[in-house]
Symmetry: C2
């Protein structure tokens, strides 16, 4: 199968930008990625757009505005994993020999969304009775506390780290440090989750240019490759009520394809839409054992410069922001910068292997629409 | 690259079924395809859902109702080519070695749609000033008449053939023959297109089970394979104002992958959303030369039993119906039945090579979102 290289990445600043259209946001990200890749618009032979809320035909309309017509364009939707799914499709086409240079991008506008966050569509009795995403994460957090003695302070530290990292990321939504006390004292959303532990409503776009190994040789870009890719769906809660099995299973598949172990991972962008999730996903991604997530953050192991996996150096969903369709692509942008050594004051030293992880939505009875894990390496 | 086999196909009857949900329609089609394939639900390792108007997460919700959870599920949107695009993604994953047994399905409910046919999303000044799809096809028809002397009767004959074929298809929306005179005297929609030359608003679903060549050997199904697949986008009108270049270019790519010539094609399901389109696409798919489409239908060459390519034996979009997300998959179902010799009284004798062709939407300045061409062979 063809090797898949990352030629270039680009993104808008993630922020509230109600005055900007889907197209306007997307154009900035796509042009930045093409420039970073050093490829012409006419070099791209396939395009994939991830979005939850943009209008039908968004990929085509957006690219039409850049004069990029003629190529196959596919719009994908997988809730909060829409961007990761667009990436996965580009990966699949290149691997299958159906594309040499593919563009994957995602765009979302949430600051003015009329649909309510994570619009899962039709009637869902659990959703309507209040079991929305922060509540689901809150239940998982409570269960984790009960099982393992994890504390509210440990969850709050995720947000503190996230905000601290985002201070060094010009693309991040928030540029404001917070303390554990401020996080704990902020407005309660779903006990124990406070508002500083919830991702904001962000507008933004991100794009990545991928290439087959053969095509990549024509361009003088860095050596970053996508070496593992997995997509799954399934139950959120299977380990004694703690969100678990889906991420663990999907990560195993991605690691296996990549030929890496969790211990090989230097840097990760993972799905911290709500702060307790990050603790749970340390465990499910194999960065530490079950129940050890609280100690992991206490010891600073997930910080930039810590002795574990540096997690969410970009600020993650919590502080970089989470425009659904763009998030999975922005993760890959951050990892690419990290693996190239271009991450400036948030650089993870000598990062060689990076992992991107997103979750997408929930459907009836706590089934998740999607979990995507990608492994990047140089 | 892996070979891609068609293990099984299934569909609902295409009809007005306002009482049926997306999920209900989809379940019937998916179960029929699995039964036809002889595979268990647990054998499927990836799923792709095409739809324009269904709610987010439709693929996941629909499969959850069948207990099919855990596998990667991708929702795709490409206007009227949404189903074909789902098929294309399943093809890509199998070819890339990312899936062994993939399910592609599509679903749409148009009889009660509140969005207006082919909702292309945000503001489009051409659309708002009346250049909607029947008008676009009408302008192409008029131009074809002027350039080549094509007649209104020839366009009407497409509808007559379509309705005649659908009489033999239990899945078709219409089971009612029409005459040339009835077609011409029916209500004018966009001169010269009358209402009997427009596809109806149909509800329905269709599904196909694909497998890698290796996986297919485990099942005692027929020998149908997908040997060519191409997806494109681009200008609708480039040949002196006649809809042209996009279909011709996409077909060439699919034929090349398949190693076939237009002269090898025995049967085709093509995008006759409006009757004149069928004449134009005879030419663009290479079944006859430019300007010869009118004579092609006059001579009965595209009829079942004609000496050309039997076109739309199912009744096509005009008479089988056109529930957007389901259409591209239903075409593949029909071609599979034809290539297996299971098409009953509408069987095309000794059909060995079949072509499926869909167009998807329009965006600004008459750019089409998508054109998909698949070549099936036994």
């Amino acid at each position: 199968m063809n090797e898949v290289a990352v030629l270039g990445v680009g993104m808008t600043r993630f922020t509230k930008a109600p005055e900007r259209s889907f197209e306007d946001l997307g154009h900035e990200a796509v042009l930045a990625a093409l420039k970073d890749a050093g490829v012409d618009r006419s070099d791209v032979d396939a395009a994939f757009c991830g979005t939850l809320e943009a209008h039908p035909g968004i990929g085509q309309r957006l690219l039409k505005g850049l004069g990029m017509t003629g190529v196959p364009i596919v719009n994908v939707e997988n809730a909060c994993a829409s961007g990761s799914t667009a990436l996965r499709e580009a990966f699949a086409w290149i691997r299958a020999g159906l594309s040499d240079i593919a563009l994957a991008f995602g765009v979302e506008r949430l600051s003015t969304s009329q649909k309510g966050l994570v619009n899962v569509g039709q009637k869902d009795h659990m959703w309507e009775s209040g079991l929305v995403l922060p509540a689901i994460y809150a239940l998982n957090a409570k269960r984790h506390m009960e099982l393992y003695g994890t504390t509210e302070e440990q969850f709050a530290k995720v947000s503190v780290k996230s905000h601290a990292n985002a201070m060094h990321n010009p693309y991040a939504h928030f540029h404001k440090p917070v303390t554990v006390q401020e996080v704990l004292e902020s407005r309660l959303i779903a006990d124990p989750i406070t508002i500083y532990q919830c991702c904001p409503s962000t507008d933004g776009a991100a794009a990545v240019v991928l290439a087959s190994g053969a095509a990549a040789k024509r361009f003088a870009t860095g050596p970053v490759r996508i070496v593992g890719s997995a997509l799954g769906s399934g139950k959120l809660n299977t380990r004694a009520g703690v969100q678990a099995e889906l991420t663990a299973r999907t990560a195993r598949a991605a690691y296996e394809m990549a030929g890496v172990e969790p211990g090989d991972v230097d840097v990760a962008e993972l799905h911290d839409a709500f702060a307790p999730g990050e603790i749970l996903y340390y465990e499910e991604l194999g960065f530490c054992g079950a129940g050890e997530g609280g100690a992991y953050i206490d010891a600073g192991r997930s910080e930039i410069g810590g002795d574990g996996v540096a997690v969410n150096p970009s600020g993650g969903l919590l502080s970089r922001g989470h425009p659904f369709g763009a998030t999975g692509i922005a993760q890959v942008a951050e990892l690419t910068w990290q693996l190239r050594g271009q991450a400036g004051s948030r650089q993870v030293e000598d990062a060689r292997v990076g992992v991107a992880h997103t979750m997408g939505g929930t459907v009836f009875e706590l089934e998740a629409n999607a979990c995507a894990v990608h492994v990047l390496a140089r």
